[in-house]
């Protein structure tokens, strides 16, 4: 089967709005957390999120939004976007430039786009309320395509004139890992030569605060302590939004265009917990099987994995589930890959997380380091025996495993290999 490579990256994240500033933040363990103004109210216990700097998307009217001037976006393009559509659009522009793609490389039947986002709760609410108050005749004709799950693929496919495969993925926090995984297959099965994977989340009040209902948000009020996966005092995840785009290309396209890929996306595996709608299996059974399936599919042995970018979101149960799964895949066989959760710096990007963190992984393979998991004061004893990095190690991993898990007990494991 043809091999698949990552050749372009674009980021709009809480820790940077381009690859180089993201790499610097990861290496130097600079987090992207701030006290979020809409949360500074007595009845909202959660105070901190991973904020997107340089963009303002608070308004329900896209024409009110502000964003870095290097992105020129026409009204007819921005009018149907959710905030995360803007983030991902900007990330797409970066990824296209990074991969050195010509216009003809983007818009052709051999190039597709898969996307993942949770839709835009802010815009859904706004348009729905308007419909109920003023009647359907006064609703924006673009309200639906701007707000429902799928808004990201609708908008990007139209804006960039994508002619190949296009689809959206919805498996909550595993969504964009699934998008990447199936995009890999689209190329390895010979259906497409190139795939864009776009992921985004609004990361605003309406996207994050509903998680307070399940008591899963961190109530930490100090941005410097907020997200602390694997720490014994962790108290929930810190929400974030943003956008990430990755470019995947076949071996032949990489050779034809003469570009240097970040790394190979070697393959992937998945499995489900079959346990609970929202709680991960305490033993991480689905995650364990997903990792084993990924190793099997790629014929990579557990011993070859140097670094694991964990799903670990900083929730009480989830981190331990994954730690147990990692122990059974690696620790019990005597392997000690370096492990960290970059969510300690960015916060949890929900549907965005898998693609954003795979993008980080590709970046750090090229840049030659493994980022430490920030904000660990006291490692949870349940994680003992795992090689959880606290500080950045300036060494380039040859093989990286990226875990993602979502509601319903969906688990995806992606394997990256140095090109």
């Amino acid at each position: 089967m043809p091999r698949v490579f990552i050749t372009g990256l674009g980021f709009v994240t809480s820790i940077g709005n381009d690859a180089s500033s993201v790499a610097a933040s990861l290496r130097e363990q600079r987090h992207g957390f701030e006290l979020y103004p809409p949360f500074q109210k007595p009845d909202i216990a959660c105070k901190v999120i991973g904020t997107i700097k340089g963009f303002s998307t608070d308004s329900v009217d896209p024409e009110d939004w502000t964003f870095p001037s290097r992105y020129a976006i026409k009204r007819e393009t921005i009018r149907s976007m959710a905030p995360h559509g803007l983030f991902a659009h900007c990330a797409m522009i970066q990824a296209v430039a990074d991969a050195k793609l010509a216009e003809s490389d983007i818009s052709n039947p051999d190039t597709g786009l898969f996307a993942a986002s949770g839709g835009s709760p802010m815009l859904t609410y706004y348009h729905h309320e308007r419909m109920l108050k003023l009647g359907p005749a006064r609703c924006s004709p673009l309200g639906i395509v701007a707000s429902i799950v799928g808004t990201l693929n609708f908008n990007l496919v139209a804006a960039f004139k994508i002619q190949g495969a296009s689809c959206g993925f919805s498996s909550a926090c595993a969504s964009s890992a699934h998008a990447l995984a199936y995009a890999h297959d689209e190329i390895s099965l010979g259906r497409q030569k190139r795939m864009f994977i776009a992921a985004g989340e609004d990361g605003n009040r309406d996207a994050i605060l509903p998680f307070a209902g399940m008591r899963t948000l961190s109530l930490q009020t100090d941005p410097n302590l907020a997200s602390r996966p694997f720490d014994v005092a962790r108290d929930g995840f810190v929400g974030t939004g943003g956008g990430t785009v990755l470019v995947l290309e076949s071996e032949d396209e990489v050779a034809r265009r003469g570009v240097t890929p970040y790394c190979e996306l070697a393959g992937w595996g998945q499995a489900s917990d079959g346990y609970n709608v929202a709680i991960s299996h305490p033993d991480g059974t689905g995650s364990k099987t997903a990792m084993e399936n990924a190793l099997k599919a790629t014929r990579i042995s557990a011993a070859e994995v140097d670094y694991v970018n964990a799903h670990a979101t900083s929730t009480l149960i989830g981190d331990i589930s994954e730690a147990r799964a990692l122990k059974s895949v690696f620790g019990e066989l005597g392997f000690r890959p370096a492990i960290s959760s970059t969510k300690s710096l960015t916060g949890h990007g929900l549907s965005l997380a898998g693609a954003m963190e795979t993008g980080f992984s590709a970046l750090l393979m090229r840049e030659g380091f493994m980022p430490g998991s920030a904000h660990i004061s006291n490692l949870d004893p349940a994680c003992e025996g795992l090689n959880i990095l606290r500080a950045t190690v300036n060494q380039s991993p040859k093989v990286v495993l990226k875990n993602s898990s979502g509601f319903g007990g969906a688990n995806v494991a992606l394997l990256l290999r140095r090109a």
Binding site: R75, E76, A137, R138, C139, S140, P141
Partner: protein, 324 residues
């Protein structure tokens, strides 16, 4: 049964509509709704909402359209005649049309149904449409775009003496284009080694456009049609030629009916080349007669009965729409 009357929009009598009192809250809402429109659009909307004077309506509609047109195309709207096409010339798609409609509905406080939108192709269509809505009148017939094949099929004049390449006809007037090819037979002698389109031929071209209007755009009584062999030139006044027109020039012609009463129809006409004025005719008058229509010969008048009295000349242009 009265003849339909076409009147000059310039002679429009001010129409005032009963509106709800305009509260300070409304002012704020209106300002917010029109925040991306020009100040004059907002001003016109305020005046319309305060006074109900429909004369402010076109400025509001054009201001709203302008706000939804990409900035690099807005200049087209500035000097636009009513024939400027929404899709082809301004890049407005059907979703943008909906956005325009919703904002206009909001600002002018009216409701527009989807099936009413289908025929709006030009800026003029939109203006007339909104005007009808505001005045509670039936909607006009949409602008018809006539290709050369259609023009050739209906016109009594034929090549080599037909001076229209394409035309559009609405109930309020007609527009056309003619490209001077240089192959016109009379250019061999007009003038020697210096081909210039004769002013008399340009006047003829305007007359032909007026004929096309009578055949395709003018309203007639039920069961009657204007006979294509009954239309002849009777006179013209106030004709001035401003610019020499030569091979390669594209003449943009427009005529508007000023008065129409059997057997006479009077038009004003103009020819431009690009933005330059070429010919102006204040009055072009044609005679015409009715023939029995092939379809639906409903209420037929007894022969010899004189044409009944027509409406007064200050009839607002919306009468045109009613009759259409």
């Amino acid at each position: 049964m009265p003849d339909p009357v076409q009147s000059n929009p310039g002679a429009n009598k001010t129409l005032t509509l009963a509106t709800k009192p305009f509260a300070p809250d409304d002012d704020a809402a209106l300002r917010e709704a029109l925040k991306r429109c020009s100040p004059s659009t907002f001003e016109a909307a305020v005046q319309f909402r305060k006074t109900g004077n429909a004369d402010h309506m076109p400025a509001v509609v054009i201001g709203v359209i302008e706000r939804f047109v990409e900035p690099d195309l807005r200049s087209k709207l500035k000097d636009a005649d009513d024939d400027l096409r929404l899709i082809e010339d301004l890049g407005i798609d059907s979703l943008t049309m909906m956005e325009i409609v919703i904002l206009v509905e909001d600002v002018l406080q009216l409701t527009i149904n989807n099936d009413e939108l289908r025929n709006l192709r030009t800026v003029g269509d939109v203006k007339t449409f909104i005007d009808c809505k505001i005045r509670g009148l039936p909607l006009p017939r949409p602008t018809k775009f006539l290709p050369i094949e259609h023009i050739g099929a209906v016109m009594p004049v034929q090549p080599p003496f037909l001076f229209l390449n394409e035309a559009s006809v609405s109930s309020t007037g007609a527009n056309g284009k003619y490209k001077i090819t240089g192959q016109e037979f009379f250019l061999q002698g007009h003038f020697k080694d210096n081909p210039i389109m004769p002013a008399s031929i340009m006047l003829e071209a305007l007359g032909q456009l007026a004929v096309l209007y009578l055949l395709e755009g003018a309203s007639t009584e039920p069961g009657k049609a204007i006979g294509s062999n009954t239309i002849f030139f009777t006179g013209c006044e106030g004709v001035r030629a401003h610019r020499m027109c030569k091979p390669g020039d594209i003449l943009t012609l427009s005529i508007k009916p000023k008065r129409m009463k059997m057997p006479l129809a009077t038009f004003e006409g103009a020819i431009r080349v690009g933005q330059e004025k070429a010919v102006i005719a204040e009055d072009i008058t044609l005679t015409f007669a009715y023939v029995e229509s092939a379809v639906a010969p409903a209420a037929v008048e007894s022969a010899g009965q004189p044409a009944p009295e027509v409406q007064p000349s200050e009839t607002p242009p919306l009468r045109v729409a009613i009759n259409a």
